[in-house]
């Protein structure tokens, strides 16, 4: 324990701190890329799933299979799969690229479920009313569904971003230089693991705690009139919102 305290001054040198900051930036970038792509593709998937046209059926089946399968594979296995598959297809793809691809694959699957839950939370009569007023598909989405759905969407989506910040720590295993990997580097430089990993834990906490407060705040502000207390806790707290299958 004494040696641990002695290490602290030599731990927080300029270069180590820069390394940690680099790791934080990289983690944020990875999360942002994954969640950004996940939102776009997830929204596309939801659009495909809620349309009723028959000729989209094959795409629908593919899309549902994709979502159901990728929500049932651990992120680690997806990472390994993408890593080895990428090496077979294109050996020049960087490790960061591999991580981005696998993050996008996973985020798309989960976020599409979150978006779908939000859209399905809009009550049926609302859409029927829009139908009876001869609104088109896009107009219904834009003027009826979205204004009501985004309130339900935001808190679990934020909770999901938190989950993703945490999940990207697994990417350190294939050698992507993000926050956890910088921790491993520092631990290899003979700093005490106790010290290094405590610092890493604190860094992750600093990254995701504000977001979790934001999710709780949004849930209180936006969905308070309709949601019960227990729904509110469930939709924001956990940060594994994508795994929830209730509407």
């Amino acid at each position: 324990m004494q040696s641990l305290l002695n290490q602290i001054p030599s731990f927080f040198t300029y270069y180590n701190v820069m390394l940690l900051l680099w790791g934080i930036g990289s983690t944020v970038l990875l999360t942002a890329a994954g969640c950004g792509a996940g939102f776009v593709f997830g929204a596309l998937i939801v659009l495909v799933r809620i349309t009723k046209t028959i000729w989209l059926l094959p795409i629908k089946i593919v899309v549902i299979t994709y979502v159901e399968f990728f929500r049932r594979i651990p992120f680690l296995v997806i990472l390994y799969l993408v890593l080895f598959a990428a090496h077979a297809v294109d050996p020049t793809l960087s490790l960061f690229g591999v991580a981005v691809v696998s993050v996008c694959l996973l985020a798309t699957a989960y976020l599409s479920e979150i978006i779908r839950a939000a859209i399905e939370s809009v009550q049926r009569p609302q859409i029927e009313a829009a139908d009876s007023m001869n609104f088109g598909f896009w107009r219904t989405i834009y003027e009826v569904v979205l204004p009501q759905a985004w309130k339900v969407l935001l808190p679990p989506a934020t909770a999901f971003v938190i989950m993703f910040i945490k999940d990207t720590s697994l990417a350190s295993q294939i050698g992507v230089i993000e926050l956890m990997f910088t921790g491993k580097i520092l631990a290899n430089r003979s700093f005490s693991g106790l010290l290094v990993y405590s610092v890493i834990l604190i860094c992750y906490f600093v990254l995701s705690y504000p977001l979790s407060r934001l999710a709780a705040w949004m849930e209180r502000r936006l969905a308070a009139p309709t949601g019960t207390e227990s729904q509110r806790i469930l939709r924001t707290s956990a940060g594994f919102a994508g795994y929830q299958s209730y509407g």
Binding site: V77, Y80, K166, L201, G247
Partner: protein
């Protein structure tokens, strides 16, 4: 791209992989029930405890839900030896993931407590139910209806989450997959098969949980 997939080598190792799947299930069970116990304590503390207990539980939940489970496990396995505590990979994974899931399960069970309304308890009392009866007929059905779907989902989440135990050397499904890919160099095939096993495992778990929920708690979970 001139890579041909050859599954033969992997399929010969299937019993070994399925043994790993069994360890994965075992880990998931231990972690889930351990976490549920911690979560019950936490939820009781947060709902009925004084300000100090509540703050303690809040800190616990905030810390463990806002830091990666992987880093927590890694901390236990690679950090604690410096403090003189040596843990085996299996126990490090179990302890780390149990404490981690305990934080989530605290929130889930707290949501269950929050779903029981004061007026319903009053109604039960007005009907002359004693404590046992009101727990049996009023409180538990409410709590279970609220928390059964998230609990079921959380079990699936733990089932997938145990894969990170492989990274500290527990030979469960993913760990064994890494072993096979190292010895046969058929990495893509191994991980495709393992992904398939995970999908089948979670599908079975979902089906079982759906049926149990339907029969015992009259909960209709959304499946697709």
């Amino acid at each position: 791209m001139n890579y041909t997939l050859q599954f033969g080598v992997v399929f010969r190792q299937l019993p070994y992989l399925l043994g790993g799947a069994l360890i994965t299930l075992e880990l998931a069970f231990i972690i889930f029930w351990g976490g549920a116990l911690i979560g019950l304590l936490g939820a009781v503390g947060k709902t009925f405890g004084g300000p100090k207990t509540r703050r303690l539980v809040n800190v616990y939940v905030a810390f463990f839900t806002n830091t990666p489970a992987f880093v927590q496990v890694y901390f236990l396995f690679n950090g604690l030896p410096d403090a003189g505590i040596l843990l085996s990979p299996f126990s490090a994974a179990v302890i780390g993931l149990t404490v981690n899931s305990g934080a989530y399960l605290t929130e889930i069970q707290r949501a269950g407590f929050a779903s029981v309304r004061r007026t319903e308890l009053d109604a039960a009392e007005a009907l002359g139910m004693n404590l046992g009866q009101s727990v049996r007929y009023v409180i538990l059905p409410h709590i279970m209806r609220t928390i059964y779907p998230p609990l079921a989902n959380f079990f699936i989440w733990i089932l997938l989450g145990t894969s990170m135990a492989a990274l500290i050397g527990v030979e469960e499904l993913t760990g064994r997959a890494v072993n096979i890919s190292a010895s046969t160099l058929r990495s893509i095939e191994v991980f495709i098969v393992v992904a398939g096993i995970y999908i089948v495992l979670t599908l079975i778990a979902t089906a079982v949980l759906y049926v149990v929920g339907r029969i015992f708690f009259r909960v209709r979970m959304r499946v697709l």
